[in-house]
């Protein structure tokens, strides 16, 4: 299934590996921070309602 990459296999595989890792980290951190922010907003809204 793996294509024959010849003498440039290291270059091609490392380009794909590092790029996909960076994209995955970007998406993962984005979703993690989004969850944190939305939870913080819900908590703040609950506190304001309780106070009033």
């Amino acid at each position: 299934m793996m294509p024959e990459l010849g003498k440039y296999a290291v270059e091609v595989v490392s380009a794909y590996g590092v790029s996909l890792l960076l994209l995955a980290a970007l998406v993962g951190l984005t979703l993690y921070r989004g969850k944190y922010a939305r939870a913080a907003l819900r908590t703040a809204e609950r506190e304001v309602k309780t106070d009033s």
């Binding site: 440039y8 270059e11 380009a15 994209l23 970007l26 984005t30 907003l41 703040a44 506190e47 304001v48």
Partner: protein
Amino acid sequence: MSIWSYANPVKFLALSARVQPALWGAAALCVSVGLIWGFFGTPDDARQGSTVKIIYLHVPAALMAINAWFMMLVASLIWLIRRHHVSALAAKAAAPVGAIMTLIALFTGAVWGQPMWGTWWAWDPRLTSFLILFLFYLGYIALWEAVEDPDTAADLTSVLCLVGSVFAVLSRYAVNFWSQGLHQGTSVPVATGGRTVADVFFYPLVVSMLGFGLLFIALVFYRTGTEISLRRAAALRARADRGL
């Protein structure tokens, strides 16, 4: 309905929630198809061998690195002229995405350049302006974090964005201004036509470019929602602290 109505955070979040599932789905599909097609389904190039497969990462990432800065420029101008908070937050949300795209373009360019040019790096006009663009991204992100007052941070980062736009333009057109560089001109000139990439490489490249573009839009929508939530939570906490 005017486009300016989406400057209202509530309306923006409603729009964002409506379009995001389709955006994420289309982005995942196009990125997967483009990269799998490019990696597994295309032949080696006669001169570049298998390194031609790096094009499906390098070109879309470079394209988005520059276009992300232009999107930030437009959002910054809207902030400076019309003072819409959502536009300032959208620019802030786009910066880390643009920085990662620039990093991918620089890394894949170096890995591609070593076997083809015989060097990882050269102080070529396009490469150098791209490195400076990356440093501008880092400076822009750092400036947002360094300034406590959000409106002042938005003002200062907008000015920085205007200055950095010079390098975003240079990174795209440097090869036209100076011809002594190692980096070739665009192989897919949209405006003038006359592409030099064969169909077998071109079609997966288009799918990959579309995927990276959709991924950028999906990420910016989601991250802008995150910034709005954080801003609103901080405002509510400040109001509670003041006892209002």
